[in-house]
Amino acid sequence: MTPGGAINATSIPIASRLAREGWDQGAILLSQFNINALSILSLAAVWEISGRLFDSVLIPPLTQIGAAWYKLLLGGKLLPNLAASLWTMIIGFVLAVLVGIVIGLLMGRFRAVEHFLDLYVNSLMSAPTTAFVPVLILWFGLGVQSRIAVVFLFAVFVVIINTMTGVKQVDNVLLEMARSFGAKEKETFLKIILPAAMPAIMAGVRLAMGRAVKGIVTAEMLLTLTGIGAMIMQYGSAFATDALFAVILTILIVAMIAMKLVQMLDRRLTGWKVEVAVE
Protein backbone atom coordinates (compact mmCIF):
# COMPACT_ATOMS: atom_id res chain seq x y z
CA MET A 1 0.00 0.00 0.00
CA THR A 2 2.65 2.51 -0.99
CA PRO A 3 0.29 5.20 -2.26
CA GLY A 4 -1.63 5.19 1.00
CA GLY A 5 1.59 5.22 2.97
CA ALA A 6 2.94 8.12 0.98
CA ILE A 7 -0.19 10.16 1.55
CA ASN A 8 -0.07 9.37 5.24
CA ALA A 9 3.55 10.43 5.50
CA THR A 10 2.98 13.79 3.86
CA SER A 11 -0.39 14.58 5.38
CA ILE A 12 0.77 14.68 8.98
CA PRO A 13 3.43 17.36 8.54
CA ILE A 14 0.95 19.41 6.56
CA ALA A 15 -1.51 19.19 9.41
CA SER A 16 1.01 20.27 12.00
CA ARG A 17 2.32 22.99 9.72
CA LEU A 18 -1.19 24.31 9.32
CA ALA A 19 -1.48 24.32 13.10
CA ARG A 20 1.76 26.21 13.46
CA GLU A 21 0.74 28.79 10.89
CA GLY A 22 -2.41 29.39 12.87
CA TRP A 23 -4.92 27.84 10.48
CA ASP A 24 -8.32 27.26 11.94
CA GLN A 25 -9.09 24.01 13.72
CA GLY A 26 -11.44 22.97 10.92
CA ALA A 27 -8.64 22.63 8.39
CA ILE A 28 -6.58 20.43 10.70
CA LEU A 29 -9.56 18.30 11.67
CA LEU A 30 -10.38 17.84 8.02
CA SER A 31 -6.97 16.45 7.22
CA GLN A 32 -7.07 14.19 10.27
CA PHE A 33 -10.52 13.14 9.14
CA ASN A 34 -9.11 12.41 5.69
CA ILE A 35 -6.51 10.07 7.11
CA ASN A 36 -9.16 8.33 9.22
CA ALA A 37 -11.36 7.91 6.17
CA LEU A 38 -8.43 6.57 4.19
CA SER A 39 -7.70 4.03 6.91
CA ILE A 40 -11.30 2.80 6.94
CA LEU A 41 -11.49 2.69 3.16
CA SER A 42 -8.31 0.62 2.85
CA LEU A 43 -9.53 -1.87 5.45
CA ALA A 44 -12.89 -2.07 3.71
CA ALA A 45 -11.18 -2.69 0.37
CA VAL A 46 -8.96 -5.45 1.75
CA TRP A 47 -11.96 -7.04 3.43
CA GLU A 48 -14.14 -6.88 0.34
CA ILE A 49 -11.44 -8.28 -1.92
CA SER A 50 -10.45 -11.13 0.39
CA GLY A 51 -14.10 -11.92 1.06
CA ARG A 52 -14.75 -12.30 -2.67
CA LEU A 53 -11.43 -14.06 -3.23
CA PHE A 54 -11.92 -16.79 -0.59
CA ASP A 55 -15.67 -16.98 -1.05
CA SER A 56 -15.99 -18.48 2.45
CA VAL A 57 -18.71 -18.14 5.04
CA LEU A 58 -15.99 -17.15 7.53
CA ILE A 59 -15.21 -13.85 5.78
CA PRO A 60 -18.33 -12.51 4.16
CA PRO A 61 -17.56 -9.61 1.80
CA LEU A 62 -18.36 -6.21 3.20
CA THR A 63 -21.13 -5.57 0.71
CA GLN A 64 -22.85 -8.74 1.90
CA ILE A 65 -22.52 -7.58 5.53
CA GLY A 66 -23.98 -4.25 4.49
CA ALA A 67 -26.93 -6.00 2.92
CA ALA A 68 -27.44 -8.10 6.06
CA TRP A 69 -27.23 -4.96 8.18
CA TYR A 70 -29.86 -3.28 6.04
CA LYS A 71 -32.09 -6.33 6.37
CA LEU A 72 -31.67 -6.37 10.16
CA LEU A 73 -32.54 -2.70 10.25
CA LEU A 74 -35.67 -3.19 8.18
CA GLY A 75 -36.61 -6.37 10.06
CA GLY A 76 -37.02 -4.21 13.15
CA LYS A 77 -34.77 -6.35 15.33
CA LEU A 78 -31.54 -4.40 15.47
CA LEU A 79 -32.72 -1.05 16.78
CA PRO A 80 -35.00 -2.26 19.62
CA ASN A 81 -32.32 -4.71 20.77
CA LEU A 82 -29.68 -2.02 20.53
CA ALA A 83 -31.85 0.42 22.47
CA ALA A 84 -32.48 -2.14 25.22
CA SER A 85 -28.77 -2.93 25.51
CA LEU A 86 -27.79 0.73 25.50
CA TRP A 87 -30.33 1.61 28.15
CA THR A 88 -29.03 -1.10 30.48
CA MET A 89 -25.47 -0.07 29.75
CA ILE A 90 -26.11 3.60 30.45
CA ILE A 91 -27.72 2.83 33.83
CA GLY A 92 -24.77 0.64 34.85
CA PHE A 93 -22.27 3.17 33.52
CA VAL A 94 -23.81 6.19 35.25
CA LEU A 95 -24.03 4.28 38.54
CA ALA A 96 -20.40 3.21 38.18
CA VAL A 97 -19.27 6.79 37.47
CA LEU A 98 -21.21 8.27 40.40
CA VAL A 99 -20.24 5.61 42.93
CA GLY A 100 -16.69 5.47 41.56
CA ILE A 101 -16.13 9.21 41.89
CA VAL A 102 -17.49 9.32 45.45
CA ILE A 103 -15.43 6.33 46.63
CA GLY A 104 -12.37 7.59 44.75
CA LEU A 105 -12.65 11.06 46.29
CA LEU A 106 -12.95 9.60 49.78
CA MET A 107 -10.07 7.17 49.25
CA GLY A 108 -7.87 9.90 47.83
CA ARG A 109 -8.62 12.38 50.58
CA PHE A 110 -8.72 10.17 53.68
CA ARG A 111 -5.91 7.78 54.45
CA ALA A 112 -8.13 5.59 56.64
CA VAL A 113 -10.68 5.07 53.86
CA GLU A 114 -7.89 4.26 51.44
CA HIS A 115 -6.35 1.64 53.70
CA PHE A 116 -9.78 0.23 54.45
CA LEU A 117 -10.69 -0.25 50.79
CA ASP A 118 -7.59 -0.44 48.63
CA LEU A 119 -7.18 -4.18 49.09
CA TYR A 120 -10.59 -4.85 47.57
CA VAL A 121 -10.38 -2.21 44.90
CA ASN A 122 -6.97 -3.36 43.72
CA SER A 123 -7.83 -7.05 43.68
CA LEU A 124 -11.20 -6.51 42.00
CA MET A 125 -9.63 -4.12 39.52
CA SER A 126 -7.34 -6.81 38.15
CA ALA A 127 -9.65 -9.80 38.68
CA PRO A 128 -11.52 -11.05 35.60
CA THR A 129 -14.94 -9.55 36.14
CA THR A 130 -16.57 -12.35 34.15
CA ALA A 131 -15.76 -14.72 37.01
CA PHE A 132 -18.32 -12.92 39.16
CA VAL A 133 -21.18 -13.45 36.75
CA PRO A 134 -22.43 -16.68 38.47
CA VAL A 135 -22.40 -14.91 41.81
CA LEU A 136 -24.35 -11.99 40.36
CA ILE A 137 -26.94 -14.41 38.98
CA LEU A 138 -27.36 -15.83 42.49
CA TRP A 139 -27.69 -12.39 43.99
CA PHE A 140 -29.74 -10.57 41.42
CA GLY A 141 -31.41 -13.32 39.43
CA LEU A 142 -31.56 -13.32 35.66
CA GLY A 143 -33.25 -9.98 35.20
CA VAL A 144 -31.96 -6.62 34.13
CA GLN A 145 -30.49 -5.97 37.59
CA SER A 146 -27.83 -8.60 36.96
CA ARG A 147 -26.84 -7.05 33.67
CA ILE A 148 -26.65 -3.62 35.25
CA ALA A 149 -24.50 -5.14 38.00
CA VAL A 150 -22.12 -6.64 35.43
CA VAL A 151 -21.74 -3.31 33.63
CA PHE A 152 -21.25 -1.62 36.99
CA LEU A 153 -18.53 -4.06 38.04
CA PHE A 154 -16.79 -3.77 34.71
CA ALA A 155 -16.71 0.02 34.89
CA VAL A 156 -16.53 1.12 38.52
CA PHE A 157 -12.95 0.26 39.46
CA VAL A 158 -11.19 2.32 36.80
CA VAL A 159 -13.22 5.31 37.96
CA ILE A 160 -12.28 4.70 41.60
CA ILE A 161 -8.57 4.23 40.91
CA ASN A 162 -8.28 7.20 38.56
CA THR A 163 -10.26 9.51 40.84
CA MET A 164 -8.17 8.47 43.83
CA THR A 165 -4.93 9.05 41.93
CA GLY A 166 -6.19 12.42 40.76
CA VAL A 167 -7.05 13.50 44.30
CA LYS A 168 -3.70 12.37 45.66
CA GLN A 169 -1.83 14.26 42.98
CA VAL A 170 -3.43 17.60 43.81
CA ASP A 171 -0.61 20.05 44.36
CA ASN A 172 -0.10 20.46 48.09
CA VAL A 173 0.64 24.15 47.63
CA LEU A 174 -2.90 24.70 46.30
CA LEU A 175 -4.38 22.98 49.35
CA GLU A 176 -2.20 25.09 51.62
CA MET A 177 -3.19 28.23 49.74
CA ALA A 178 -6.89 27.41 50.16
CA ARG A 179 -6.46 26.78 53.86
CA SER A 180 -4.47 29.97 54.27
CA PHE A 181 -7.32 31.97 52.78
CA GLY A 182 -9.73 30.30 55.15
CA ALA A 183 -11.24 27.45 53.08
CA LYS A 184 -13.21 24.84 55.02
CA GLU A 185 -13.10 21.15 54.11
CA LYS A 186 -16.20 21.40 51.88
CA GLU A 187 -14.86 24.42 50.01
CA THR A 188 -11.48 22.75 49.59
CA PHE A 189 -13.21 19.73 48.11
CA LEU A 190 -15.40 21.67 45.70
CA LYS A 191 -13.07 24.48 44.71
CA ILE A 192 -9.66 22.78 44.74
CA ILE A 193 -9.71 19.00 44.87
CA LEU A 194 -12.56 18.30 42.46
CA PRO A 195 -11.42 20.62 39.66
CA ALA A 196 -7.76 19.68 40.11
CA ALA A 197 -8.61 15.99 39.93
CA MET A 198 -11.04 16.43 37.02
CA PRO A 199 -8.59 15.46 34.24
CA ALA A 200 -7.78 12.21 36.06
CA ILE A 201 -11.46 11.59 36.84
CA MET A 202 -12.36 12.07 33.19
CA ALA A 203 -9.58 9.69 32.14
CA GLY A 204 -11.25 7.13 34.41
CA VAL A 205 -14.67 7.91 32.94
CA ARG A 206 -13.28 7.43 29.44
CA LEU A 207 -11.88 4.03 30.33
CA ALA A 208 -15.12 3.17 32.12
CA MET A 209 -17.08 3.90 28.96
CA GLY A 210 -15.11 1.31 27.05
CA ARG A 211 -15.46 -1.18 29.86
CA ALA A 212 -19.21 -0.58 30.06
CA VAL A 213 -19.59 -1.56 26.40
CA LYS A 214 -17.64 -4.76 27.09
CA GLY A 215 -19.72 -5.31 30.21
CA ILE A 216 -23.11 -5.11 28.54
CA VAL A 217 -22.15 -7.43 25.67
CA THR A 218 -20.59 -9.92 28.10
CA ALA A 219 -23.66 -9.80 30.35
CA GLU A 220 -26.03 -10.37 27.47
CA MET A 221 -24.00 -13.27 26.18
CA LEU A 222 -23.34 -14.99 29.48
CA LEU A 223 -26.38 -14.17 31.61
CA THR A 224 -29.58 -14.02 29.70
CA LEU A 225 -29.70 -13.91 25.97
CA THR A 226 -31.13 -10.49 25.33
CA GLY A 227 -30.33 -7.44 23.30
CA ILE A 228 -27.25 -7.17 21.17
CA GLY A 229 -25.48 -9.99 23.01
CA ALA A 230 -28.29 -12.40 22.18
CA MET A 231 -28.06 -11.45 18.50
CA ILE A 232 -24.34 -12.21 18.50
CA MET A 233 -24.87 -15.63 20.06
CA GLN A 234 -27.78 -16.42 17.79
CA TYR A 235 -26.10 -15.49 14.50
CA GLY A 236 -22.80 -16.97 15.64
CA SER A 237 -24.24 -20.40 16.33
CA ALA A 238 -26.30 -20.27 13.12
CA PHE A 239 -23.18 -19.44 11.06
CA ALA A 240 -24.99 -16.36 9.79
CA THR A 241 -21.66 -14.59 9.61
CA ASP A 242 -22.89 -11.66 7.55
CA ALA A 243 -25.51 -10.80 10.18
CA LEU A 244 -23.00 -11.55 12.95
CA PHE A 245 -20.48 -9.08 11.50
CA ALA A 246 -23.27 -6.58 10.98
CA VAL A 247 -24.03 -6.69 14.71
CA ILE A 248 -20.36 -6.51 15.66
CA LEU A 249 -19.87 -3.49 13.40
CA THR A 250 -22.87 -1.87 15.05
CA ILE A 251 -21.27 -2.38 18.46
CA LEU A 252 -18.02 -0.86 17.21
CA ILE A 253 -19.83 2.17 15.87
CA VAL A 254 -21.80 2.60 19.11
CA ALA A 255 -18.60 2.28 21.14
CA MET A 256 -16.93 4.89 18.97
CA ILE A 257 -19.82 7.31 19.36
CA ALA A 258 -19.89 6.72 23.12
CA MET A 259 -16.17 7.46 23.37
CA LYS A 260 -16.58 10.63 21.31
CA LEU A 261 -19.35 11.80 23.63
CA VAL A 262 -17.18 11.25 26.70
CA GLN A 263 -14.32 13.03 24.96
CA MET A 264 -16.54 16.02 24.29
CA LEU A 265 -17.59 16.09 27.92
CA ASP A 266 -13.94 15.86 28.92
CA ARG A 267 -12.99 18.86 26.72
CA ARG A 268 -15.81 20.82 28.27
CA LEU A 269 -14.80 20.05 31.86
CA THR A 270 -11.04 20.17 31.57
CA GLY A 271 -10.49 22.59 28.71
CA TRP A 272 -7.81 24.38 30.71
CA LYS A 273 -5.77 21.17 30.77
CA VAL A 274 -6.11 20.56 27.03
CA GLU A 275 -4.79 24.03 26.33
CA VAL A 276 -1.76 23.25 28.44
CA ALA A 277 -1.20 20.02 26.55
CA VAL A 278 -1.33 21.76 23.17
CA GLU A 279 1.46 24.19 24.00
Binding site: S180, F181, G182
Partner: protein, 262 residues
Protein backbone atom coordinates in the same frame (compact mmCIF):
# COMPACT_ATOMS: atom_id res chain seq x y z
CA UNK B 1 2.55 44.17 66.06
CA UNK B 2 3.60 40.57 65.50
CA UNK B 3 5.45 39.00 68.38
CA UNK B 4 7.40 35.78 68.08
CA UNK B 5 8.47 34.61 71.51
CA UNK B 6 10.80 31.64 72.14
CA UNK B 7 9.23 29.63 69.33
CA UNK B 8 10.55 26.13 68.65
CA UNK B 9 9.45 23.52 66.16
CA UNK B 10 10.50 19.94 65.41
CA UNK B 11 9.48 17.60 62.64
CA UNK B 12 9.39 13.87 62.68
CA UNK B 13 11.02 12.40 59.66
CA UNK B 14 10.60 8.74 58.77
CA UNK B 15 13.14 7.16 56.48
CA UNK B 16 12.94 3.39 56.05
CA UNK B 17 10.91 2.82 59.23
CA UNK B 18 13.31 4.85 61.33
CA UNK B 19 11.76 7.96 62.73
CA UNK B 20 14.06 10.76 63.73
CA UNK B 21 13.31 14.11 65.19
CA UNK B 22 14.58 17.08 63.22
CA UNK B 23 14.61 20.41 64.95
CA UNK B 24 13.65 23.09 62.47
CA UNK B 25 13.47 26.14 64.72
CA UNK B 26 14.94 26.73 68.13
CA UNK B 27 13.98 29.51 70.49
CA UNK B 28 13.16 32.12 67.86
CA UNK B 29 12.57 35.58 69.25
CA UNK B 30 11.73 38.82 67.46
CA UNK B 31 8.88 41.15 66.81
CA UNK B 32 7.54 43.02 63.81
CA UNK B 33 6.13 46.50 64.22
CA UNK B 34 2.93 47.66 62.59
CA UNK B 35 3.51 48.91 59.02
CA UNK B 36 7.07 47.68 59.10
CA UNK B 37 8.75 45.96 56.17
CA UNK B 38 10.78 43.15 57.71
CA UNK B 39 12.82 40.56 55.85
CA UNK B 40 13.95 37.21 57.12
CA UNK B 41 17.09 35.93 55.48
CA UNK B 42 18.90 32.67 56.05
CA UNK B 43 20.43 29.64 54.34
CA UNK B 44 18.16 27.03 52.75
CA UNK B 45 16.59 24.73 55.31
CA UNK B 46 16.87 27.17 58.19
CA UNK B 47 13.13 26.98 58.76
CA UNK B 48 12.21 30.45 57.52
CA UNK B 49 9.30 29.14 55.45
CA UNK B 50 8.19 27.06 58.43
CA UNK B 51 8.25 30.20 60.53
CA UNK B 52 6.14 32.08 57.99
CA UNK B 53 3.59 29.26 57.88
CA UNK B 54 3.38 29.36 61.66
CA UNK B 55 2.75 33.10 61.61
CA UNK B 56 0.00 32.44 59.06
CA UNK B 57 -1.41 29.75 61.33
CA UNK B 58 -1.03 26.94 58.79
CA UNK B 59 1.11 24.78 61.06
CA UNK B 60 1.29 24.66 64.84
CA UNK B 61 4.44 25.38 66.84
CA UNK B 62 5.72 23.14 69.62
CA UNK B 63 6.55 25.74 72.21
CA UNK B 64 6.69 29.49 72.67
CA UNK B 65 4.11 31.91 71.44
CA UNK B 66 3.24 33.84 68.29
CA UNK B 67 0.77 36.66 68.70
CA UNK B 68 -0.64 39.54 66.71
CA UNK B 69 -1.56 42.62 68.73
CA UNK B 70 -1.54 40.45 71.83
CA UNK B 71 -3.79 37.73 70.42
CA UNK B 72 -2.23 34.30 70.09
CA UNK B 73 -2.37 32.70 66.63
CA UNK B 74 -3.96 29.29 66.27
CA UNK B 75 -5.28 29.33 62.70
CA UNK B 76 -5.20 31.38 59.50
CA UNK B 77 -7.13 34.62 59.87
CA UNK B 78 -8.48 37.48 57.80
CA UNK B 79 -5.77 39.84 59.04
CA UNK B 80 -3.07 37.90 57.17
CA UNK B 81 -2.54 36.84 53.55
CA UNK B 82 0.29 34.86 51.99
CA UNK B 83 2.04 35.37 48.67
CA UNK B 84 3.47 31.99 47.75
CA UNK B 85 6.85 31.25 46.24
CA UNK B 86 5.38 29.04 43.52
CA UNK B 87 2.42 31.42 42.99
CA UNK B 88 -0.18 28.73 43.89
CA UNK B 89 -2.61 29.92 41.23
CA UNK B 90 -5.49 27.67 40.20
CA UNK B 91 -4.70 26.66 36.59
CA UNK B 92 -8.39 26.14 35.70
CA UNK B 93 -9.33 29.68 36.65
CA UNK B 94 -8.66 32.91 34.82
CA UNK B 95 -6.54 35.54 36.54
CA UNK B 96 -9.67 37.41 37.61
CA UNK B 97 -11.28 34.25 39.00
CA UNK B 98 -8.06 33.45 40.82
CA UNK B 99 -8.13 36.80 42.58
CA UNK B 100 -11.82 36.31 43.33
CA UNK B 101 -11.03 32.98 45.01
CA UNK B 102 -9.92 34.60 48.24
CA UNK B 103 -13.07 36.73 48.24
CA UNK B 104 -15.39 33.80 47.57
CA UNK B 105 -14.19 32.24 50.79
CA UNK B 106 -15.19 35.40 52.64
CA UNK B 107 -18.77 35.17 51.34
CA UNK B 108 -18.59 38.40 49.39
CA UNK B 109 -21.26 38.67 46.69
CA UNK B 110 -20.42 38.25 43.03
CA UNK B 111 -20.65 41.88 41.95
CA UNK B 112 -18.55 43.25 44.76
CA UNK B 113 -16.09 40.40 44.29
CA UNK B 114 -15.47 41.22 40.65
CA UNK B 115 -15.15 44.90 41.47
CA UNK B 116 -12.55 44.32 44.19
CA UNK B 117 -10.64 41.78 42.08
CA UNK B 118 -10.49 44.14 39.08
CA UNK B 119 -9.25 46.95 41.30
CA UNK B 120 -6.51 44.73 42.79
CA UNK B 121 -5.40 43.58 39.35
CA UNK B 122 -5.10 47.23 38.30
CA UNK B 123 -3.01 47.96 41.38
CA UNK B 124 -0.49 45.29 40.42
CA UNK B 125 -0.52 46.24 36.73
CA UNK B 126 -2.49 43.26 35.46
CA UNK B 127 -5.64 45.17 34.49
CA UNK B 128 -5.52 44.01 30.88
CA UNK B 129 -4.97 40.35 31.67
CA UNK B 130 -7.99 39.42 33.75
CA UNK B 131 -9.25 36.86 31.25
CA UNK B 132 -5.92 35.10 30.78
CA UNK B 133 -5.18 31.74 32.31
CA UNK B 134 -2.09 31.46 34.52
CA UNK B 135 -0.17 29.34 32.01
CA UNK B 136 -0.54 32.12 29.47
CA UNK B 137 1.39 34.52 31.71
CA UNK B 138 5.07 34.89 32.54
CA UNK B 139 6.31 34.02 36.03
CA UNK B 140 6.47 37.68 36.98
CA UNK B 141 2.89 38.25 35.88
CA UNK B 142 1.71 35.13 37.67
CA UNK B 143 3.22 36.45 40.88
CA UNK B 144 1.47 39.79 40.37
CA UNK B 145 -1.75 37.79 40.25
CA UNK B 146 -0.72 36.03 43.46
CA UNK B 147 -0.09 39.42 45.05
CA UNK B 148 -3.44 40.74 43.81
CA UNK B 149 -5.19 37.74 45.37
CA UNK B 150 -3.54 38.51 48.70
CA UNK B 151 -4.35 42.23 48.48
CA UNK B 152 -7.98 41.47 47.63
CA UNK B 153 -8.79 40.41 51.19
CA UNK B 154 -7.20 43.63 52.45
CA UNK B 155 -4.95 42.06 55.08
CA UNK B 156 -3.05 44.19 57.55
CA UNK B 157 -0.14 41.75 57.39
CA UNK B 158 1.29 40.49 54.13
CA UNK B 159 3.35 37.31 54.41
CA UNK B 160 5.63 36.81 51.43
CA UNK B 161 7.51 33.55 51.02
CA UNK B 162 10.42 34.16 48.62
CA UNK B 163 7.87 35.64 46.24
CA UNK B 164 10.38 36.69 43.60
CA UNK B 165 12.62 33.63 43.84
CA UNK B 166 11.14 32.00 40.76
CA UNK B 167 11.36 34.93 38.33
CA UNK B 168 14.27 36.21 36.26
CA UNK B 169 16.61 38.93 37.55
CA UNK B 170 15.21 41.89 35.60
CA UNK B 171 11.61 41.07 36.43
CA UNK B 172 12.66 40.58 40.00
CA UNK B 173 14.07 44.08 40.27
CA UNK B 174 10.96 45.52 38.67
CA UNK B 175 8.69 43.62 41.05
CA UNK B 176 10.74 44.76 44.04
CA UNK B 177 10.32 48.37 42.98
CA UNK B 178 6.60 47.96 42.48
CA UNK B 179 6.18 46.20 45.79
CA UNK B 180 7.90 49.09 47.57
CA UNK B 181 5.69 51.61 45.80
CA UNK B 182 2.63 49.63 46.82
CA UNK B 183 3.82 49.33 50.39
CA UNK B 184 4.60 53.06 50.48
CA UNK B 185 1.03 53.76 49.39
CA UNK B 186 -0.84 51.21 51.48
CA UNK B 187 1.41 50.80 54.50
CA UNK B 188 0.84 47.21 55.41
CA UNK B 189 3.04 45.16 57.68
CA UNK B 190 5.16 42.96 55.42
CA UNK B 191 7.11 39.89 56.50
CA UNK B 192 9.27 38.96 53.57
CA UNK B 193 11.30 35.76 53.28
CA UNK B 194 14.28 35.82 50.97
CA UNK B 195 17.73 34.44 50.50
CA UNK B 196 18.89 37.38 48.46
CA UNK B 197 20.94 39.85 50.47
CA UNK B 198 20.42 42.90 48.29
CA UNK B 199 16.71 42.17 48.04
CA UNK B 200 16.50 42.17 51.84
CA UNK B 201 18.46 45.41 52.18
CA UNK B 202 16.72 47.22 49.34
CA UNK B 203 13.22 46.45 50.62
CA UNK B 204 13.37 46.31 54.39
CA UNK B 205 13.29 48.47 57.46
CA UNK B 206 14.91 45.63 59.37
CA UNK B 207 16.48 42.30 58.41
CA UNK B 208 16.39 39.18 60.58
CA UNK B 209 19.41 36.96 59.88
CA UNK B 210 18.88 33.30 60.72
CA UNK B 211 21.30 30.45 61.36
CA UNK B 212 21.24 27.07 59.59
CA UNK B 213 19.10 24.29 61.06
CA UNK B 214 17.97 24.42 63.76
CA UNK B 215 17.02 27.99 62.80
CA UNK B 216 17.78 30.66 65.37
CA UNK B 217 17.93 34.40 65.11
CA UNK B 218 21.58 35.28 64.55
CA UNK B 219 20.90 39.00 64.58
CA UNK B 220 18.39 41.67 63.72
CA UNK B 221 19.70 44.55 61.61
CA UNK B 222 18.35 48.03 61.03
CA UNK B 223 18.49 49.31 57.46
CA UNK B 224 19.00 53.05 57.80
CA UNK B 225 18.46 53.87 54.11
CA UNK B 226 16.17 56.80 53.38
CA UNK B 227 12.77 56.23 51.83
CA UNK B 228 11.32 56.34 49.26
CA UNK B 229 14.07 54.21 47.81
CA UNK B 230 14.84 54.47 44.13
CA UNK B 231 16.65 51.39 42.84
CA UNK B 232 19.47 53.17 41.00
CA UNK B 233 20.25 55.54 43.85
CA UNK B 234 19.99 52.99 46.63
CA UNK B 235 22.14 50.39 44.95
CA UNK B 236 24.86 53.01 44.34
CA UNK B 237 24.72 54.18 47.96
CA UNK B 238 27.91 53.06 49.80
CA UNK B 239 25.72 52.21 52.80
CA UNK B 240 23.91 49.65 50.63
CA UNK B 241 27.12 47.81 49.80
CA UNK B 242 28.24 48.04 53.40
CA UNK B 243 24.97 46.52 54.64
CA UNK B 244 24.83 43.65 52.14
CA UNK B 245 28.44 42.96 52.94
CA UNK B 246 27.67 42.94 56.64
CA UNK B 247 24.78 40.49 56.13
CA UNK B 248 27.03 38.29 54.05
CA UNK B 249 29.53 38.09 56.90
CA UNK B 250 26.79 37.57 59.44
CA UNK B 251 25.37 34.68 57.39
CA UNK B 252 28.80 33.22 56.89
CA UNK B 253 29.56 33.36 60.58
CA UNK B 254 26.21 31.75 61.37
CA UNK B 255 26.87 29.00 58.89
CA UNK B 256 30.40 28.35 60.19
CA UNK B 257 29.07 28.13 63.73
CA UNK B 258 26.32 25.86 62.52
CA UNK B 259 28.76 23.50 60.93
CA UNK B 260 31.06 23.57 63.93
CA UNK B 261 28.10 22.54 66.04
CA UNK B 262 27.30 19.48 63.92
Amino acid sequence: MVEIERVSKSFYKTVKDRTTEVQALSNVNFSVHANEFLSIIGPSGCGKTTLLKMIDGLIPYDSGKISIDGKQITAPGPDRAVVFQTFALLPWRTVLANVEFSLELRQINTRERTEIARDCLKRVGLGDFENHYPHELSGGMQQRAGLARALAVNPSILLMDEPFGAVDAQTRQLLQEELLELWQRERKTVIFITHSMDEAVYLSDRVVVMTPRPGRVAEVLDVPLARPRVTEDVRRDPKFAELTNYIWHSLKKAMDNGHAGV
